[in-house]
Symmetry: C2
Subunit: 308 residues, 2 copies
Protein backbone atom coordinates (compact mmCIF):
# COMPACT_ATOMS: atom_id res chain seq x y z
CA UNK A 1 0.00 0.00 0.00
CA UNK A 2 1.22 3.47 -0.88
CA UNK A 3 1.72 5.23 2.42
CA UNK A 4 4.89 7.27 2.14
CA UNK A 5 6.21 10.31 0.30
CA UNK A 6 9.94 10.89 0.02
CA UNK A 7 11.39 14.38 -0.06
CA UNK A 8 15.04 14.68 -1.07
CA UNK A 9 16.98 17.94 -0.80
CA UNK A 10 20.21 17.57 -2.78
CA UNK A 11 22.93 19.95 -1.61
CA UNK A 12 26.53 20.31 -2.73
CA UNK A 13 27.86 18.65 0.44
CA UNK A 14 25.02 16.55 1.84
CA UNK A 15 21.73 15.08 0.66
CA UNK A 16 18.81 15.26 3.08
CA UNK A 17 16.23 12.51 2.76
CA UNK A 18 12.86 12.67 4.50
CA UNK A 19 10.22 9.97 4.77
CA UNK A 20 6.73 11.46 5.15
CA UNK A 21 3.24 10.10 5.46
CA UNK A 22 0.78 11.13 2.75
CA UNK A 23 -0.30 14.17 4.80
CA UNK A 24 3.22 15.54 5.08
CA UNK A 25 4.06 14.35 8.60
CA UNK A 26 7.82 13.81 8.77
CA UNK A 27 8.40 10.25 10.02
CA UNK A 28 12.12 9.89 9.61
CA UNK A 29 15.03 11.83 8.10
CA UNK A 30 18.66 11.14 7.42
CA UNK A 31 21.63 12.51 5.47
CA UNK A 32 24.05 11.02 3.01
CA UNK A 33 27.14 12.72 1.58
CA UNK A 34 27.03 14.18 -1.94
CA UNK A 35 29.45 12.39 -4.26
CA UNK A 36 30.36 15.05 -6.81
CA UNK A 37 32.91 12.90 -8.63
CA UNK A 38 32.37 12.02 -12.31
CA UNK A 39 30.08 15.03 -12.81
CA UNK A 40 27.87 13.88 -9.95
CA UNK A 41 26.82 10.83 -11.93
CA UNK A 42 26.42 8.65 -8.82
CA UNK A 43 24.20 11.02 -6.86
CA UNK A 44 20.80 9.70 -7.92
CA UNK A 45 21.96 6.06 -7.62
CA UNK A 46 23.30 6.76 -4.12
CA UNK A 47 19.91 8.19 -3.16
CA UNK A 48 18.10 5.18 -4.60
CA UNK A 49 20.29 2.82 -2.58
CA UNK A 50 20.05 4.85 0.61
CA UNK A 51 16.26 4.82 0.40
CA UNK A 52 16.09 1.13 -0.55
CA UNK A 53 17.98 0.22 2.63
CA UNK A 54 15.25 1.77 4.78
CA UNK A 55 11.98 1.87 2.84
CA UNK A 56 10.14 -0.58 0.59
CA UNK A 57 9.43 1.13 -2.73
CA UNK A 58 6.09 -0.71 -2.86
CA UNK A 59 4.96 1.60 -0.10
CA UNK A 60 6.20 4.82 -1.73
CA UNK A 61 3.70 7.00 -3.59
CA UNK A 62 6.40 9.26 -4.95
CA UNK A 63 9.81 10.78 -4.53
CA UNK A 64 10.43 14.50 -5.03
CA UNK A 65 13.80 16.15 -5.45
CA UNK A 66 14.98 19.67 -4.74
CA UNK A 67 18.11 20.38 -6.75
CA UNK A 68 20.49 23.37 -6.59
CA UNK A 69 19.92 24.86 -10.04
CA UNK A 70 17.21 25.78 -12.54
CA UNK A 71 14.67 23.07 -13.28
CA UNK A 72 11.88 22.98 -15.83
CA UNK A 73 9.50 20.07 -16.39
CA UNK A 74 11.56 17.99 -13.93
CA UNK A 75 14.74 18.45 -15.98
CA UNK A 76 17.68 20.09 -14.20
CA UNK A 77 19.31 22.49 -16.66
CA UNK A 78 22.59 22.91 -14.83
CA UNK A 79 23.72 22.36 -11.23
CA UNK A 80 27.27 23.67 -10.86
CA UNK A 81 27.50 22.51 -7.23
CA UNK A 82 26.72 18.91 -8.21
CA UNK A 83 28.75 18.83 -11.42
CA UNK A 84 25.53 18.29 -13.38
CA UNK A 85 24.80 19.56 -16.87
CA UNK A 86 21.33 18.77 -18.18
CA UNK A 87 19.84 15.93 -16.13
CA UNK A 88 16.35 14.54 -16.68
CA UNK A 89 15.79 13.61 -13.05
CA UNK A 90 12.83 11.20 -13.42
CA UNK A 91 14.32 9.43 -16.46
CA UNK A 92 17.69 9.06 -14.74
CA UNK A 93 16.25 7.93 -11.42
CA UNK A 94 14.04 5.36 -13.14
CA UNK A 95 17.16 3.66 -14.47
CA UNK A 96 17.68 2.47 -10.88
CA UNK A 97 14.20 2.56 -9.42
CA UNK A 98 12.06 0.30 -11.57
CA UNK A 99 8.72 0.72 -9.79
CA UNK A 100 6.66 2.41 -12.48
CA UNK A 101 3.88 3.43 -10.13
CA UNK A 102 6.19 5.66 -8.07
CA UNK A 103 5.93 9.35 -9.05
CA UNK A 104 9.27 11.09 -9.59
CA UNK A 105 9.44 14.86 -9.76
CA UNK A 106 12.05 17.56 -9.35
CA UNK A 107 12.23 21.28 -8.91
CA UNK A 108 14.68 23.91 -7.71
CA UNK A 109 15.72 23.63 -4.05
CA UNK A 110 15.03 27.27 -3.17
CA UNK A 111 11.68 27.18 -4.95
CA UNK A 112 10.51 24.03 -3.16
CA UNK A 113 11.12 25.62 0.23
CA UNK A 114 7.97 27.63 -0.51
CA UNK A 115 5.89 24.52 -1.15
CA UNK A 116 7.36 22.99 2.01
CA UNK A 117 5.89 25.83 4.02
CA UNK A 118 2.56 25.34 2.21
CA UNK A 119 2.66 21.63 3.05
CA UNK A 120 3.42 21.79 6.77
CA UNK A 121 4.84 25.19 7.66
CA UNK A 122 3.71 28.79 7.98
CA UNK A 123 1.48 28.75 4.87
CA UNK A 124 -0.62 25.62 5.48
CA UNK A 125 -3.94 25.92 3.67
CA UNK A 126 -2.75 28.76 1.42
CA UNK A 127 -2.64 28.37 -2.35
CA UNK A 128 -0.93 31.61 -3.34
CA UNK A 129 2.32 32.22 -1.53
CA UNK A 130 5.63 33.95 -2.18
CA UNK A 131 8.66 33.11 -0.05
CA UNK A 132 12.00 34.89 0.34
CA UNK A 133 14.81 32.92 1.99
CA UNK A 134 17.44 35.26 3.42
CA UNK A 135 20.62 33.29 4.00
CA UNK A 136 24.12 33.88 2.64
CA UNK A 137 22.26 34.75 -0.55
CA UNK A 138 18.57 35.28 -1.17
CA UNK A 139 16.43 32.51 -2.63
CA UNK A 140 12.79 32.61 -3.54
CA UNK A 141 9.78 30.56 -4.42
CA UNK A 142 6.40 31.36 -5.94
CA UNK A 143 3.29 29.22 -5.45
CA UNK A 144 0.21 30.01 -7.55
CA UNK A 145 -3.02 28.06 -7.17
CA UNK A 146 -1.20 25.48 -5.03
CA UNK A 147 1.44 24.79 -7.67
CA UNK A 148 5.08 25.75 -7.64
CA UNK A 149 5.99 28.06 -10.53
CA UNK A 150 9.22 26.88 -12.20
CA UNK A 151 9.17 29.24 -15.17
CA UNK A 152 10.15 28.74 -18.79
CA UNK A 153 13.88 28.28 -18.05
CA UNK A 154 13.51 27.28 -14.41
CA UNK A 155 14.26 30.87 -13.46
CA UNK A 156 11.03 31.73 -11.62
CA UNK A 157 11.53 32.68 -7.99
CA UNK A 158 14.96 34.24 -8.61
CA UNK A 159 13.95 36.89 -6.14
CA UNK A 160 17.48 37.49 -4.87
CA UNK A 161 18.31 39.09 -8.20
CA UNK A 162 15.45 41.56 -8.31
CA UNK A 163 17.10 44.95 -8.74
CA UNK A 164 15.79 47.09 -5.89
CA UNK A 165 18.21 50.00 -6.18
CA UNK A 166 19.11 51.31 -9.62
CA UNK A 167 21.80 53.62 -8.26
CA UNK A 168 23.50 51.14 -5.91
CA UNK A 169 27.17 50.42 -6.21
CA UNK A 170 27.37 46.93 -4.70
CA UNK A 171 28.24 44.34 -7.34
CA UNK A 172 26.27 41.10 -7.12
CA UNK A 173 27.94 37.84 -8.02
CA UNK A 174 25.41 37.56 -10.87
CA UNK A 175 27.15 40.54 -12.51
CA UNK A 176 24.47 43.17 -11.91
CA UNK A 177 24.40 46.00 -9.39
CA UNK A 178 21.63 46.64 -6.89
CA UNK A 179 20.31 43.08 -6.54
CA UNK A 180 18.27 42.30 -3.41
CA UNK A 181 20.85 39.66 -2.47
CA UNK A 182 23.55 42.32 -2.07
CA UNK A 183 21.61 44.13 0.65
CA UNK A 184 18.96 41.96 2.36
CA UNK A 185 20.83 38.66 2.77
CA UNK A 186 23.05 37.99 5.79
CA UNK A 187 25.97 39.09 3.63
CA UNK A 188 23.97 42.13 2.53
CA UNK A 189 23.27 43.32 6.07
CA UNK A 190 27.01 43.20 6.76
CA UNK A 191 27.59 45.12 3.50
CA UNK A 192 25.13 47.80 4.60
CA UNK A 193 26.67 48.07 8.08
CA UNK A 194 30.11 48.61 6.53
CA UNK A 195 28.70 51.32 4.25
CA UNK A 196 27.17 53.12 7.24
CA UNK A 197 30.40 52.80 9.24
CA UNK A 198 32.29 54.45 6.39
CA UNK A 199 29.84 57.23 5.70
CA UNK A 200 29.36 58.27 9.31
CA UNK A 201 31.51 58.87 12.37
CA UNK A 202 28.91 57.85 14.95
CA UNK A 203 30.29 55.55 17.64
CA UNK A 204 29.43 51.88 17.37
CA UNK A 205 30.81 48.62 18.83
CA UNK A 206 31.06 47.49 15.19
CA UNK A 207 33.97 49.90 14.63
CA UNK A 208 36.34 47.86 16.76
CA UNK A 209 35.48 44.56 15.06
CA UNK A 210 37.47 43.48 12.03
CA UNK A 211 34.77 41.00 11.17
CA UNK A 212 31.15 40.68 12.24
CA UNK A 213 28.06 38.70 11.32
CA UNK A 214 24.56 39.75 10.27
CA UNK A 215 23.33 38.33 13.56
CA UNK A 216 25.67 40.68 15.42
CA UNK A 217 24.32 43.64 13.40
CA UNK A 218 20.72 42.60 14.09
CA UNK A 219 21.41 42.14 17.82
CA UNK A 220 23.12 45.53 18.07
CA UNK A 221 20.25 47.13 16.15
CA UNK A 222 17.81 45.71 18.68
CA UNK A 223 19.96 47.20 21.42
CA UNK A 224 19.70 50.62 19.77
CA UNK A 225 23.08 50.96 18.08
CA UNK A 226 22.63 53.74 15.51
CA UNK A 227 24.87 52.27 12.80
CA UNK A 228 23.44 48.77 13.10
CA UNK A 229 19.91 50.15 13.13
CA UNK A 230 20.53 52.15 9.96
CA UNK A 231 21.81 49.01 8.22
CA UNK A 232 18.82 46.93 9.32
CA UNK A 233 16.38 49.68 8.36
CA UNK A 234 17.95 49.80 4.89
CA UNK A 235 17.81 46.01 4.52
CA UNK A 236 14.14 46.04 5.52
CA UNK A 237 13.43 48.91 3.11
CA UNK A 238 15.03 47.04 0.20
CA UNK A 239 13.22 43.81 1.02
CA UNK A 240 10.00 45.82 1.28
CA UNK A 241 10.57 47.11 -2.27
CA UNK A 242 10.97 43.58 -3.60
CA UNK A 243 7.92 42.34 -1.71
CA UNK A 244 5.84 45.26 -2.98
CA UNK A 245 6.67 44.14 -6.51
CA UNK A 246 5.32 40.65 -5.91
CA UNK A 247 2.28 42.00 -4.06
CA UNK A 248 1.35 44.18 -7.05
CA UNK A 249 2.03 41.39 -9.54
CA UNK A 250 0.48 38.43 -7.76
CA UNK A 251 -1.37 39.71 -4.68
CA UNK A 252 -0.66 36.46 -2.76
CA UNK A 253 -2.38 35.42 0.47
CA UNK A 254 0.83 35.55 2.45
CA UNK A 255 4.52 36.37 2.03
CA UNK A 256 6.98 34.24 3.99
CA UNK A 257 10.48 35.19 5.09
CA UNK A 258 12.83 32.32 5.85
CA UNK A 259 16.55 31.81 6.33
CA UNK A 260 18.88 32.97 9.08
CA UNK A 261 17.99 36.66 8.87
CA UNK A 262 14.33 35.88 9.57
CA UNK A 263 15.33 34.66 13.05
CA UNK A 264 15.52 38.32 14.04
CA UNK A 265 11.73 37.97 14.32
CA UNK A 266 9.14 40.74 14.51
CA UNK A 267 11.86 43.36 15.09
CA UNK A 268 12.87 42.86 11.46
CA UNK A 269 9.64 41.53 9.92
CA UNK A 270 7.53 44.45 11.17
CA UNK A 271 9.89 46.91 9.50
CA UNK A 272 9.72 44.88 6.30
CA UNK A 273 5.92 44.72 6.39
CA UNK A 274 5.64 48.50 6.86
CA UNK A 275 7.86 49.14 3.83
CA UNK A 276 6.10 46.53 1.67
CA UNK A 277 2.81 48.22 2.52
CA UNK A 278 4.21 51.68 1.77
CA UNK A 279 5.50 50.70 -1.68
CA UNK A 280 2.40 48.73 -2.69
CA UNK A 281 -0.20 51.13 -1.25
CA UNK A 282 -3.16 51.35 -1.75
CA UNK A 283 -3.31 47.98 -3.53
CA UNK A 284 -2.62 44.53 -2.10
CA UNK A 285 -3.36 45.80 1.37
CA UNK A 286 -2.73 43.97 4.60
CA UNK A 287 -0.91 40.97 3.19
CA UNK A 288 0.65 39.14 6.16
CA UNK A 289 4.46 38.99 6.10
CA UNK A 290 5.31 35.97 8.26
CA UNK A 291 8.40 34.10 9.35
CA UNK A 292 8.82 30.64 7.84
CA UNK A 293 8.75 27.80 10.37
CA UNK A 294 10.42 24.74 8.83
CA UNK A 295 13.98 26.05 8.83
CA UNK A 296 16.45 23.92 6.90
CA UNK A 297 13.91 21.13 6.47
CA UNK A 298 11.67 23.28 4.22
CA UNK A 299 13.31 21.95 1.05
CA UNK A 300 12.72 18.34 2.08
CA UNK A 301 9.06 19.03 2.87
CA UNK A 302 8.66 20.93 -0.38
CA UNK A 303 10.24 18.15 -2.43
CA UNK A 304 7.75 15.71 -0.87
CA UNK A 305 4.91 18.14 -1.71
CA UNK A 306 5.76 17.78 -5.41
CA UNK A 307 4.54 14.15 -5.29
CA UNK A 308 1.77 14.49 -2.68
CA UNK B 1 -26.52 22.81 -28.47
CA UNK B 2 -23.87 24.89 -26.71
CA UNK B 3 -21.94 26.61 -29.45
CA UNK B 4 -21.24 30.16 -28.29
CA UNK B 5 -19.18 31.97 -25.69
CA UNK B 6 -20.02 35.54 -24.75
CA UNK B 7 -17.34 38.00 -23.72
CA UNK B 8 -18.53 41.25 -22.16
CA UNK B 9 -16.19 44.16 -21.45
CA UNK B 10 -17.97 46.61 -19.14
CA UNK B 11 -16.59 50.14 -19.37
CA UNK B 12 -17.73 53.32 -17.69
CA UNK B 13 -19.28 54.68 -20.91
CA UNK B 14 -19.99 51.66 -23.10
CA UNK B 15 -20.33 47.90 -22.75
CA UNK B 16 -18.76 45.79 -25.49
CA UNK B 17 -20.42 42.45 -26.13
CA UNK B 18 -18.78 39.76 -28.26
CA UNK B 19 -20.28 36.49 -29.47
CA UNK B 20 -17.60 33.87 -30.05
CA UNK B 21 -17.55 30.26 -31.16
CA UNK B 22 -16.11 27.75 -28.68
CA UNK B 23 -12.62 28.19 -30.16
CA UNK B 24 -12.57 31.95 -29.64
CA UNK B 25 -13.47 33.07 -33.15
CA UNK B 26 -15.30 36.39 -32.89
CA UNK B 27 -18.60 36.02 -34.76
CA UNK B 28 -20.34 39.24 -33.88
CA UNK B 29 -19.83 42.25 -31.61
CA UNK B 30 -21.88 45.21 -30.57
CA UNK B 31 -21.97 47.97 -27.95
CA UNK B 32 -24.58 49.20 -25.54
CA UNK B 33 -24.33 52.32 -23.37
CA UNK B 34 -23.46 51.96 -19.68
CA UNK B 35 -26.31 53.12 -17.46
CA UNK B 36 -24.57 54.28 -14.29
CA UNK B 37 -27.73 55.55 -12.61
CA UNK B 38 -28.87 54.00 -9.31
CA UNK B 39 -25.36 52.77 -8.53
CA UNK B 40 -25.20 50.94 -11.86
CA UNK B 41 -27.91 48.57 -10.72
CA UNK B 42 -29.33 48.14 -14.24
CA UNK B 43 -26.05 47.28 -15.97
CA UNK B 44 -26.21 43.50 -15.73
CA UNK B 45 -29.91 43.43 -16.60
CA UNK B 46 -29.25 45.63 -19.64
CA UNK B 47 -26.58 43.16 -20.77
CA UNK B 48 -28.92 40.23 -20.26
CA UNK B 49 -31.58 41.89 -22.38
CA UNK B 50 -29.15 43.01 -25.09
CA UNK B 51 -27.85 39.45 -25.45
CA UNK B 52 -31.32 37.89 -25.31
CA UNK B 53 -32.38 40.01 -28.30
CA UNK B 54 -29.66 38.45 -30.46
CA UNK B 55 -28.67 35.05 -29.04
CA UNK B 56 -30.59 32.09 -27.67
CA UNK B 57 -29.24 31.30 -24.18
CA UNK B 58 -29.76 27.59 -24.93
CA UNK B 59 -26.82 27.88 -27.30
CA UNK B 60 -24.52 29.74 -24.86
CA UNK B 61 -21.87 27.77 -22.96
CA UNK B 62 -20.96 30.71 -20.80
CA UNK B 63 -20.73 34.44 -20.39
CA UNK B 64 -17.60 36.11 -19.04
CA UNK B 65 -17.35 39.67 -17.79
CA UNK B 66 -14.44 42.05 -17.58
CA UNK B 67 -15.20 44.75 -15.02
CA UNK B 68 -13.29 47.97 -14.20
CA UNK B 69 -12.21 47.19 -10.64
CA UNK B 70 -10.73 44.49 -8.42
CA UNK B 71 -12.41 41.09 -8.64
CA UNK B 72 -11.86 37.97 -6.61
CA UNK B 73 -13.77 34.69 -7.03
CA UNK B 74 -16.07 36.43 -9.53
CA UNK B 75 -17.09 39.08 -6.99
CA UNK B 76 -16.38 42.71 -7.95
CA UNK B 77 -15.11 44.46 -4.82
CA UNK B 78 -15.66 48.01 -6.03
CA UNK B 79 -16.06 49.65 -9.45
CA UNK B 80 -16.09 53.41 -9.02
CA UNK B 81 -16.72 54.00 -12.75
CA UNK B 82 -19.91 51.90 -12.65
CA UNK B 83 -21.14 53.07 -9.28
CA UNK B 84 -20.78 49.52 -7.95
CA UNK B 85 -19.85 48.52 -4.44
CA UNK B 86 -19.50 44.77 -3.83
CA UNK B 87 -21.29 42.91 -6.63
CA UNK B 88 -21.38 39.12 -6.89
CA UNK B 89 -21.51 39.08 -10.69
CA UNK B 90 -22.73 35.48 -11.26
CA UNK B 91 -25.33 35.64 -8.46
CA UNK B 92 -26.64 38.99 -9.71
CA UNK B 93 -26.68 37.99 -13.37
CA UNK B 94 -28.50 34.75 -12.55
CA UNK B 95 -31.38 36.79 -11.16
CA UNK B 96 -32.16 37.64 -14.81
CA UNK B 97 -30.62 34.75 -16.71
CA UNK B 98 -32.25 31.59 -15.41
CA UNK B 99 -30.40 29.05 -17.54
CA UNK B 100 -28.47 27.13 -14.89
CA UNK B 101 -26.18 25.40 -17.36
CA UNK B 102 -24.67 28.68 -18.56
CA UNK B 103 -21.33 29.44 -16.90
CA UNK B 104 -21.00 32.97 -15.51
CA UNK B 105 -17.60 34.33 -14.53
CA UNK B 106 -15.99 37.70 -13.98
CA UNK B 107 -12.56 39.18 -13.59
CA UNK B 108 -10.85 42.54 -13.84
CA UNK B 109 -10.95 44.17 -17.29
CA UNK B 110 -7.21 44.93 -17.49
CA UNK B 111 -6.35 41.43 -16.28
CA UNK B 112 -8.57 39.69 -18.83
CA UNK B 113 -6.83 41.49 -21.70
CA UNK B 114 -3.94 39.10 -21.02
CA UNK B 115 -6.14 36.02 -21.34
CA UNK B 116 -7.63 37.53 -24.50
CA UNK B 117 -4.18 37.54 -26.08
CA UNK B 118 -3.71 33.93 -24.91
CA UNK B 119 -7.05 32.98 -26.46
CA UNK B 120 -6.64 34.51 -29.92
CA UNK B 121 -3.87 37.11 -29.87
CA UNK B 122 -0.09 37.33 -29.59
CA UNK B 123 0.22 34.61 -26.93
CA UNK B 124 -1.83 31.78 -28.47
CA UNK B 125 -0.62 28.45 -27.14
CA UNK B 126 1.25 30.00 -24.19
CA UNK B 127 0.31 29.19 -20.62
CA UNK B 128 2.53 31.62 -18.74
CA UNK B 129 2.18 35.19 -19.90
CA UNK B 130 2.48 38.67 -18.41
CA UNK B 131 0.93 41.63 -20.20
CA UNK B 132 1.42 45.37 -19.72
CA UNK B 133 -1.17 47.67 -21.34
CA UNK B 134 0.24 51.16 -21.84
CA UNK B 135 -2.65 53.55 -22.35
CA UNK B 136 -3.57 56.69 -20.42
CA UNK B 137 -2.55 54.60 -17.42
CA UNK B 138 -0.82 51.23 -17.23
CA UNK B 139 -2.81 48.05 -16.72
CA UNK B 140 -1.53 44.54 -16.35
CA UNK B 141 -2.45 40.90 -16.36
CA UNK B 142 -0.71 37.73 -15.21
CA UNK B 143 -1.50 34.27 -16.58
CA UNK B 144 0.05 31.26 -14.85
CA UNK B 145 -0.51 27.73 -16.09
CA UNK B 146 -3.25 28.99 -18.43
CA UNK B 147 -5.23 30.64 -15.65
CA UNK B 148 -5.65 34.32 -14.94
CA UNK B 149 -4.27 35.31 -11.53
CA UNK B 150 -6.78 37.54 -9.68
CA UNK B 151 -5.00 37.66 -6.32
CA UNK B 152 -6.35 37.64 -2.78
CA UNK B 153 -8.02 41.07 -3.06
CA UNK B 154 -8.26 41.17 -6.84
CA UNK B 155 -5.09 43.24 -6.90
CA UNK B 156 -2.87 40.93 -8.96
CA UNK B 157 -1.65 42.48 -12.20
CA UNK B 158 -1.55 46.02 -10.77
CA UNK B 159 1.62 46.47 -12.77
CA UNK B 160 1.08 50.18 -13.34
CA UNK B 161 1.77 50.78 -9.67
CA UNK B 162 5.06 48.94 -9.47
CA UNK B 163 7.51 51.48 -8.09
CA UNK B 164 10.38 51.58 -10.58
CA UNK B 165 12.13 54.69 -9.34
CA UNK B 166 12.51 55.24 -5.61
CA UNK B 167 13.85 58.77 -6.05
CA UNK B 168 11.30 60.01 -8.59
CA UNK B 169 9.23 63.09 -7.92
CA UNK B 170 6.18 62.44 -10.10
CA UNK B 171 3.12 61.84 -7.96
CA UNK B 172 0.88 59.00 -9.14
CA UNK B 173 -2.86 59.27 -8.71
CA UNK B 174 -2.61 56.25 -6.38
CA UNK B 175 -0.73 58.48 -3.92
CA UNK B 176 2.76 57.01 -4.33
CA UNK B 177 5.75 58.41 -6.19
CA UNK B 178 7.70 56.59 -8.87
CA UNK B 179 4.94 54.29 -10.17
CA UNK B 180 5.43 52.80 -13.64
CA UNK B 181 2.20 54.50 -14.72
CA UNK B 182 3.73 57.96 -14.17
CA UNK B 183 6.49 57.35 -16.71
CA UNK B 184 5.69 54.55 -19.20
CA UNK B 185 2.04 55.26 -20.01
CA UNK B 186 1.07 57.70 -22.74
CA UNK B 187 0.70 60.31 -20.00
CA UNK B 188 4.07 59.26 -18.60
CA UNK B 189 5.91 59.73 -21.87
CA UNK B 190 4.56 63.28 -22.03
CA UNK B 191 5.63 63.77 -18.38
CA UNK B 192 9.16 62.64 -19.24
CA UNK B 193 9.36 64.85 -22.32
CA UNK B 194 8.36 67.87 -20.21
CA UNK B 195 11.04 67.00 -17.65
CA UNK B 196 13.69 66.81 -20.37
CA UNK B 197 12.50 70.09 -21.90
CA UNK B 198 12.90 71.79 -18.53
CA UNK B 199 16.27 70.30 -17.63
CA UNK B 200 17.94 70.95 -20.98
CA UNK B 201 18.14 73.76 -23.51
CA UNK B 202 18.53 71.56 -26.59
CA UNK B 203 16.30 72.65 -29.49
CA UNK B 204 13.19 70.58 -30.13
CA UNK B 205 9.90 71.09 -32.01
CA UNK B 206 8.25 70.19 -28.69
CA UNK B 207 9.33 73.56 -27.24
CA UNK B 208 6.90 75.51 -29.38
CA UNK B 209 3.92 73.28 -28.55
CA UNK B 210 1.78 74.13 -25.57
CA UNK B 211 0.34 70.65 -25.63
CA UNK B 212 1.51 67.43 -27.26
CA UNK B 213 0.70 63.72 -27.22
CA UNK B 214 2.79 60.63 -26.50
CA UNK B 215 2.41 59.72 -30.17
CA UNK B 216 3.98 63.03 -31.12
CA UNK B 217 6.90 62.35 -28.75
CA UNK B 218 7.35 58.83 -30.15
CA UNK B 219 7.22 60.08 -33.75
CA UNK B 220 9.76 62.83 -33.03
CA UNK B 221 12.01 60.33 -31.25
CA UNK B 222 11.94 58.11 -34.34
CA UNK B 223 12.93 61.17 -36.37
CA UNK B 224 15.93 61.72 -34.11
CA UNK B 225 14.77 64.59 -31.91
CA UNK B 226 17.10 64.56 -28.90
CA UNK B 227 14.56 65.58 -26.26
CA UNK B 228 11.91 63.15 -27.50
CA UNK B 229 14.46 60.37 -27.74
CA UNK B 230 15.61 60.95 -24.17
CA UNK B 231 12.00 60.71 -22.96
CA UNK B 232 11.34 57.51 -24.91
CA UNK B 233 14.62 55.96 -23.74
CA UNK B 234 13.66 56.73 -20.14
CA UNK B 235 10.16 55.27 -20.60
CA UNK B 236 11.67 52.11 -22.08
CA UNK B 237 14.22 51.89 -19.26
CA UNK B 238 11.49 52.14 -16.61
CA UNK B 239 9.30 49.59 -18.33
CA UNK B 240 12.36 47.33 -18.63
CA UNK B 241 12.81 47.55 -14.85
CA UNK B 242 9.22 46.46 -14.26
CA UNK B 243 9.46 43.64 -16.78
CA UNK B 244 12.73 42.43 -15.24
CA UNK B 245 10.89 42.07 -11.95
CA UNK B 246 8.25 39.82 -13.44
CA UNK B 247 10.86 37.85 -15.40
CA UNK B 248 12.77 37.08 -12.19
CA UNK B 249 9.59 36.28 -10.25
CA UNK B 250 7.67 34.26 -12.85
CA UNK B 251 9.96 33.62 -15.83
CA UNK B 252 7.00 33.59 -18.24
CA UNK B 253 7.13 32.34 -21.83
CA UNK B 254 6.37 35.75 -23.24
CA UNK B 255 5.73 39.33 -22.12
CA UNK B 256 3.17 41.30 -24.12
CA UNK B 257 2.94 45.06 -24.47
CA UNK B 258 -0.44 46.45 -25.49
CA UNK B 259 -2.18 49.82 -25.50
CA UNK B 260 -1.57 52.89 -27.60
CA UNK B 261 2.12 53.27 -26.73
CA UNK B 262 2.84 49.79 -28.12
CA UNK B 263 1.85 51.02 -31.58
CA UNK B 264 5.31 52.61 -31.76
CA UNK B 265 6.39 49.06 -32.64
CA UNK B 266 9.92 47.64 -32.61
CA UNK B 267 11.43 51.12 -32.24
CA UNK B 268 10.06 51.14 -28.69
CA UNK B 269 9.79 47.40 -27.94
CA UNK B 270 13.42 46.67 -28.84
CA UNK B 271 14.59 49.32 -26.37
CA UNK B 272 12.32 47.81 -23.72
CA UNK B 273 13.56 44.29 -24.38
CA UNK B 274 17.20 45.37 -24.10
CA UNK B 275 16.55 46.99 -20.72
CA UNK B 276 14.47 44.06 -19.43
CA UNK B 277 17.35 41.76 -20.37
CA UNK B 278 19.92 44.03 -18.70
CA UNK B 279 18.05 44.17 -15.40
CA UNK B 280 17.22 40.46 -15.29
CA UNK B 281 20.56 39.14 -16.56
CA UNK B 282 21.79 36.40 -16.46
CA UNK B 283 18.47 34.79 -15.45
CA UNK B 284 15.25 34.57 -17.45
CA UNK B 285 17.17 35.03 -20.66
CA UNK B 286 15.73 35.68 -24.08
CA UNK B 287 12.11 36.08 -23.08
CA UNK B 288 10.30 37.53 -26.10
CA UNK B 289 8.76 40.98 -25.54
CA UNK B 290 5.99 41.22 -28.13
CA UNK B 291 3.31 43.67 -29.12
CA UNK B 292 -0.25 42.61 -28.33
CA UNK B 293 -2.48 42.15 -31.38
CA UNK B 294 -6.13 42.36 -30.29
CA UNK B 295 -6.21 46.07 -29.50
CA UNK B 296 -9.35 47.25 -27.72
CA UNK B 297 -11.05 43.90 -28.27
CA UNK B 298 -8.61 42.06 -25.96
CA UNK B 299 -10.87 42.48 -22.93
CA UNK B 300 -13.84 40.98 -24.78
CA UNK B 301 -11.77 38.00 -25.94
CA UNK B 302 -10.36 37.56 -22.44
CA UNK B 303 -13.79 37.69 -20.83
CA UNK B 304 -14.91 34.92 -23.20
CA UNK B 305 -11.77 32.92 -22.29
CA UNK B 306 -12.96 32.81 -18.66
CA UNK B 307 -15.84 30.53 -19.71
CA UNK B 308 -14.16 28.63 -22.57
Amino acid sequence: MKQYLLGVDIGGTAIKIGKFDLFGELLEKWDIPTDRSDHGSRILKDIYEAVSARVSWDEVKGVGFGVPGPVTDNVALTCVNLGWGIVDVPATFRQFMTYEDVLVRASNDANVAATGEVFRGAAVGKKNVVMFTLGTGVGGGVVVDGKLVDGKNGAAGELGHLVIDFTHKILCKCGKHGCLETVSSATGIVNLARIHLQSSSVASPLRSMTDFSAKRVLDLAKAGDVIALAAVDDAADYLGRAIAGVLLSLNPEVVLIGGGVSHAGPFFLDKVAAKAQEYSSPFAKDTPILGATLGNDAGMFGAAYLVR
